[in-house]
Symmetry: C2
Subunit: 396 residues, 2 copies
DNA sequence: GTTGGCACCCTGGGATGGCGAGTGCAAGCC
DNA sequence: GGCTTGCACTCGCCATCCCAGGGTGCCAAC
C-alpha cells in the first residue's frame, strides 16, 4: 500500500532528463545484426504445463516460421496479423493461401487465435511460450546500450545505490516495469551491532552487514535500564554476534538471552525480538521498482485491471516473493500470461533472472504479454551480467 | 524513476486485507452530522491569483448556495449538473428557471461552465476555489475513522514506521494518492557517528539521529588507511560531531579536516564529502507514497496523462519539493487545478498540510480536481493531528 | 502440396435520426 | 422587480444503418 523511498538515484547521470519522451534508450529498435549468438538459454520447461504437448516436434519448419512471424509482427504492430503480412515479413516463397492453411493448422493446435471471425491472428499464451522456447540463442544487447548499462552501474557507490540504478536502467531500456529484489542478507556477515539510545526509554538497534546493508529496529527499553546496562549489552552483542552470518544472528542473540546475567535478560530479550522481526524473511527483501508509468501508457490493460496491477506492485512483499519464486535456476525465466498464478498477472508476462549465485537476488521486468521477448531477454541478461560484475567490484 | 522500499507496514493491522474493494474505509460517505464546526481554517489566499476578483462579496447568498450544490453534486455524481438537480439538492424554494438564471450569472463570472452547449454545468477551478474558500469551518472526521487513525498510528515503533503507516492510512481513507514527506532532520541531534569497514578499501559512514533516522554513505578509503587510522577518525568524529544538529554536521566535519593531523586529512576529507552528499537537501527528504492505484481507477485522467502523473510520482525529489512548497503556513493548503505550477498537475488538486512546526514535515493527498474537498480536508486534518501526537509520543 | 479465385464474415468508421436533458428567452404572475 | 411557466432550440448520446476493407475458408485447378 505504501512505499518508502530514499530517492535512489542520486547522480545526475542516473536520473534521466525529466523530458517526456525517453528517446534513444528503449530496446525495441535493437538493430537486427546486434542479435548474434551467445550462450544457450533454457527457460521454464514447457513440460511442466499440463496443456503443453509432450512432443517437441509437432511443428514443421514452416509452421514455426509462420508462428515466429505472427508473434513478432503482433508485438511490433500491436494488431492481429493476417496471412498476407506473414508472407511479407517471413520471407516465405509461398502464397498467402498456403500460409492461411498453416495458420489454420496453428490455430487448431492452439498457438494462435482470431479475436473474431475473419480477423488476423494473434498469438495465444501457448504461442508465445513456443516462440520463446524456440529462441535457441540469446540475443546480445547492442554496443551502445551495453555501454550505457556499464556506465550507469559501474559508478554506483554502494549496494543499495547499485540496485536502485539497476532498476532504473532496466525500466528505461525495456520501457516496462522493472523489479529488482535485493540479495538475501542471510549469508552476509554482520559487521556492526549497535544500540543507540534515542529518547528516554527507547533505543535503536542497528545491524550493519558487510554488504553495506543497514537494518534498524526500534526497541522499548525495560523500565530502569541504565546507561551501564546498555554498555554491557552492547559489548556482549559485539563479542558474540559480530562476524556471524545474518541468518544466524537471531539464533545467536536468543541463546545469549539464557546465558546472560538475569538483570540483563529482559533487555536482551527485547533485542532478540528486534532481530527476529528485523531479520524476518519478508522484511529482508528490499524491492526496487521502476517505470510503473509504462503500464499506464500501454493499452493492453484496461483501467480496472491497471489499477489492480498497481496495487499488486505496491504490495512489495508479495512482489518480492513472486519474482524470487520465478527464478529457480540461473537461467532467465519467462512466465507468460496464464502461466502466472496470480490472477491479476494473467494478461502480463514476467521475465526474470537470478543474480549472485551465493546470495540469490533476482530481478526482472513485468509488462503486457505482448512484449518484445527477444530484446527484453537480451536486456535482462546484459543487466544481470553487469550487475554481477559491479557487485563483485563493490565487495573487493 | 526508481523506488526503494522496505515494506513499510509491518503489522497485520496496518496492511489492509488484499481483497479488491476496500470497503468501509473511504471517507466519501462521511455522514453529514459528522461535519461539525471545529477550528477556523484559512487556505491559499484567493487574492494571490490574478484572475480572482478582489471583492469577496460579489456572490449573494443564493448564488453561493447554487455553487455549492453544483460542486458537491458534481463531485458525487461525476457528471454535469443541471438546474433541476440543483433545485432538488440545494433545497431552494425557487424554480429551476430561477436557478438557471443564477447559473448563467455564475457562468459569466467564471465559477462554472458547460462542457458543451445545453449540458449541465461543471465547476471551474475558480468555482472549486470559491467553494473551498467558503468552507468557513473544518469538518471533523467521524468517530470510527478517527479511532482507526488513532489505532494505526498509535502503535508505530519508530518514525519511519509511523510515516509509512500515515501514508497508508491517508490513501485508504481518501482513496487518493497520499504523499508524506518526512520532517527535515536539520534540527535533529546526531546520536551516533560510525565508520564501518566493509570490503578492503571501502567503508560505510553511518549517521544516526535522535529521531531514529539513519543515513548511510559509502566511502572510498584512501590507499594505505590502517585500522588505527579508522579508530582515530572515529573518535575524532564522536568527540566533535556527536550531539550536533544534523544541519551543522557537514560544516563541523569540514572544519575538522583542517585541524586534523595531516595523515588523517585525506580520510577526513572523504568523510566530509560523504556527509555533504548524504545530508544534502534533497537526499534528506524521505517520501512515502501510497495509493497510486487510485489514479488509474479514476477516469478523470486519460491514459497519456495518467502515465505522466505516475512518472511525476516516481520522481521523488520533485514531489517532495512540491508538497513542501505548498505548505507554507500551518493551515491546510489546497491547490486546485491550474493553481499548480507543474503542468501535469493542472487537472489535479493537492491538499496538503504541514506537521511538526519545529522540524517541518508535510503531508497531503493528490487526486483529480473533482475530489471531495470537505472530507479530504477533514481527513488530512485528523491525520495531521494524530501524527503530531504520535511523533510527540515517540520522542519522549 | 500449392495456388488463384471467390463468397463470406465481421469490424470500424462515417452518416443518419430520434430521444432526452438542459438551456435561454419571453411573456405573464405576484 | 423578481419569480415562474412555457416553449423553442441545441446538443450529446445511442442505436441503426451502410459501406469499405481486410481477412478468412473452401474449392477447383495446376
Amino acid at each position: 500500500m505504501t512505499v518508502a523511498d530514499r530517492r535512489p538515484t542520486r547522480g545526475a547521470s542516473a536520473s534521466p532528463p525529466p523530458g517526456r519522451p525517453r528517446d534513444g534508450l528503449d530496446v525495441t529498435d535493437v538493430p537486427d545484426d546486434a542479435v548474434r549468438m551467445r550462450v544457450p538459454l533454457r527457460m521454464d520447461a514447457t513440460a511442466e504445463r499440463p496443456d503443453a504437448p509432450a512432443s517437441d516436434e509437432e511443428l514443421d519448419d514452416r509452421k514455426r516460421q509462420v508462428l515466429r512471424a505472427v508473434v513478432s509482427e503482433h508485438v511490433a504492430r500491436r494488431e492481429p496479423v493476417g496471412s498476407k503480412r506473414v508472407v511479407e515479413v517471413a520471407g516465405l516463397n509461398v502464397s498467402a493461401a498456403t500460409v492461411r492453411n498453416e495458420m489454420a493448422a496453428l490455430e487448431s493446435l492452439g498457438y494462435i487465435m482470431q479475436p473474431h471471425t475473419s480477423a488476423g491472428r494473434v498469438p495465444t499464451d501457448k504461442g508465445y511460450r513456443r516462440f520463446v522456447d524456440d529462441l535457441r540463442a540469446d540475443a546480445a544487447l547492442d554496443g551502445p546500450r551495453r555501454e550505457l548499462v556499464h556506465e550507469l552501474l559501474g559508478s554506483a557507490t554502494d549496494e543499495e545505490d547499485l540496485l536502485a540504478r539497476t532498476s532504473s536502467v532496466l525500466s528505461q531500456l525495456t520501457r516496462l516495469v522493472s523489479l529488482v529484489i535485493a540479495p538475501t542478507v542471510e549469508t552476509a556477515r554482520l559487521k556492526l551491532v549497535e544500540l543507540v539510545e534515542l529518547a528516554a526509554g527507547s533505543a535503536l538497534l542497528l545491524l550493519v552487514a558487510d554488504t553495506g546493508r543497514v537494518e534498524k529496529r526500534a526497541i522499548e527499553l525495560p523500565a530502569g535500564t541504565t546507561e551501564t546496562d546498555l554498555d554491557r549489552v552492547r559489548s556482549v552483542l559485539s563479542e558474540h554476534v559480530r562476524g556471524r552470518r545474518l541468518g544466524e544472528v537471531n539464533a545467536a542473540v536468543r541463546s545469549l538471552v539464557d546465558e546472560a546475567p538475569s538483570d540483563l535478560r529482559e533487555l536482551l530479550r527485547a533485542v532478540a525480538d528486534a532481530t527476529h522481526s528485523g531479520l524476518a524473511d519478508d522484511t529482508i527483501h528490499q524491492v526496487f521498482v521502476g517505470g510503473q508509468a509504462s503500464l499506464a501508457g500501454d493499452d493492453a490493460f484496461e483501467r480496472e485491471h491497471l489499477s489492480r496491477l498497481l496495487e499488486l506492485i505496491e504490495e512489495r512483499a508479495t512482489l518480492a516473493r513472486l519474482v524470487a519464486d520465478a527464478t529457480a535456476d540461473d537461467h532467465p525465466t519467462v512466465r507468460i500470461g496464464q502461466e502466472n498464478e496470480v490472477e491479476d498477472l494473467q494478461a502480463a508476462s514476467l521475465v526474470a533472472q537470478r543474480y549472485q549465485l551465493v546470495t540469490a537476488g533476482s530481478l526482472g521486468v513485468l509488462g503486457p504479454t505482448r512484449m518484445d521477448y527477444v530484446s527484453v531477454l537480451a536486456t535482462v541478461q546484459a543487466v544481470v551480467d553487469q550487475l554481477q560484475e559491479s557487485l563483485t567490484d563493490l565487495s573487493s
